[in-house]
Symmetry: C2
Subunit: 342 residues, 2 copies
């Protein structure tokens, strides 16, 4: 590994059931992802159910495909994103993410050096989060039938017996907390694509949030968590509102937004609440839990900018109160400012 020339690229043979594919498994995926279940090399990982039973009474199971463009960006790459995104979708249920599957769709011609960089990034991100990548699949399609690389990950973990976080728990009077600055990932990708020239100040927030979430399990009054990715915080607020039958009022002045992100938004007339994040929680909590949740978040480097941004209301609308006290409906956009953000 690591000695690729620029002529070493993915060929159609790497996606066959033949020797070329076997070599790719033996030299790249299996050594980098190595763990007991994967190393058995069966068609499926075989995981002891006792591991899950120790941790809870329900299995959390989720999936996402990642098609982000560009595949490398400040703060991460498509591989790191594919581990973080799915781990976070497990963690927001209260589960400890344990195992991931990964399915690669590779375009013929993808440099092997790029693939290795992505696979190393997945392996490092998973290892740091104590997650094992236990089963996988690789397909190759002809040049032009896909764009470089798409990755799907599915994940499983156990939800502790006493945790029942969910959008149906949300009640009027609950506070809405975000775990940090909004829109960093979306602004970073937009800046790259549109060459706005703000490189130094913008980094994706792509991170596994499980360590930030774990202490929240001990705080009574946590109602529901989501990670605000595609569609941003606005999409989550609409999910919360729809599922609970409540409304949400947020205060523009309370939104934590980095100045570089705010600059891009003002430049382009965009709303940071609609921008994608890849390492930010939206949390609905009972009023009496608000301070404990904020204190817990502030203790972790990923949560230093955590802030209450609004409140759950009796009405069914999602509203934003602006700098001058005027309030307006925050509609769920028909589409997003940016395709292929994740």
């Amino acid at each position: 590994m690591s000695e690729w020339s620029k002529d070493d690229v993915i060929t159609m043979a790497h996606g066959s059931g033949g020797r070329a594919m076997q070599q790719l498994l033996d030299t790249l995926f299996l050594p980098l992802f190595s763990n007991p279940a994967l190393d058995e090399r069966e068609d499926q990982a075989r995981l002891p159910l006792s591991v899950f039973n120790q941790h809870g009474d329900r299995l959390a199971f989720t999936t996402d495909s990642y098609v982000i463009d560009p595949i490398f960006f400040p703060g991460g790459d498509i591989g790191k994103l594919a581990v973080c995104g799915t781990a976070n979708d497990l963690a927001v249920s209260g589960a400890q993410p344990k195992y991931l599957s990964c399915g690669f769709i590779l375009e013929e011609g993808l440099p092997l050096a790029d693939l290795e960089k992505i696979v190393r990034s997945m392996a490092a991100t998973a290892r740091a989060a104590n997650i094992q990548i236990v089963t996988g699949d690789t397909k190759v399609v002809q040049r032009g039938a896909a764009d470089k690389i798409f990755i799907n990950t599915a994940g499983i973990g156990a939800i502790p017996n006493d945790i029942h976080w969910g959008t149906s728990e949300i009640q009027p009077g609950d506070k809405l907390i975000v775990s940090g600055t909004l829109g960093d990932h979306g602004a970073t990708i937009l800046n790259l694509r549109e060459q706005l020239g703000l490189e130094a100040e913008l980094t994706s927030d792509c991170a596994v949030l499980a360590p930030l979430i774990a202490p929240l399990r001990n705080i009574p009054g946590v109602r529901a968590l989501r990670d605000a990715t595609r569609g941003g915080v606005t999409a989550i607020m609409h999910e919360f509102a729809n599922a609970s039958g409540c409304g949400i009022d947020v205060i523009e002045q309370l939104l934590p937004v980095k100045s570089a992100v705010r600059g891009i938004c003002e430049l382009l007339g965009l709303e940071p609440l609609n921008f994608a994040n890849e390492g930010k929680l939206v949390i609905a909590v009972a009023p009496e839990a608000e301070q404990a949740v904020l204190d817990s978040l502030h203790l972790h480097p990923l949560g230093v900018d955590a802030a209450t941004i609004g409140v759950v209301t009796e009405g069914k609308q999602v509203r934003l109160t602006g700098m001058y006290g005027t309030s307006r409906l925050l509609d769920l956009p028909h589409s997003e400012p940016l395709p292929r953000i994740c």
Copy 2:
């Protein structure tokens, strides 16, 4: 649903976190796949661990991405394939497939009528096999950045306590059984792509094999099962040989091959053992289990053509003995005759 005009196509907005995506979920995926876990509409399915504990002590977990071209073919479509293929990768461990995730990557411009046909096919195949599709994701990429539709499925199920099928169990003297005719899927796709004009006689064997496998759990002496997809039976024989340190001798005359498939192979100089199947088992069994396994397979419509095709040997080679008694090495091909076969 079902009233699409040809102008109703997937747009970039369907892949955003916004309203268009919500509508696609509400009108297509959620009603067709409906089940308790999916209907909760959380970011992850929440499945009672008691369901798995009832059935076994290990969790089987697997994934595959499906990129087949064309997406509709005699005997199936990419959706049916995405359910069957992953269900089969679970079932060959002895597990009962229970839950699937699905991740769609859609090309802008895909007709909604095609998507609905595929989703209906997935729903019907899963329902017939008593499998629930409990979590999912949809991404859309620009025209030309993917080819129509790619689907990833990941699956989970419990492996019964007393089942320990695996390639490391294989021993010299074991018999090699296939559950039916070889190469039907590969020949069907080749015929379509190359327009060989044999339409009437060729159909993919795409099927969920769990009902064929279930009775084998009661037969002592079953060593290892695989479904022979990409790379065909040849790839499986090499996996069996590598994992067990044994060799395999197969007899050409014993191979069950339909005459239309044999015709295509002779026409193009191809080997049916290398052709993909999507509903065929390769089973290594102790000699004393051979008859019981064949009898069990023959009782099921999917196993009527089951046959012993060879034997596990002390040597490390995979060999084919031909019509006239001459024996030759059966190499693992470098690549496959057909890209995007599954």
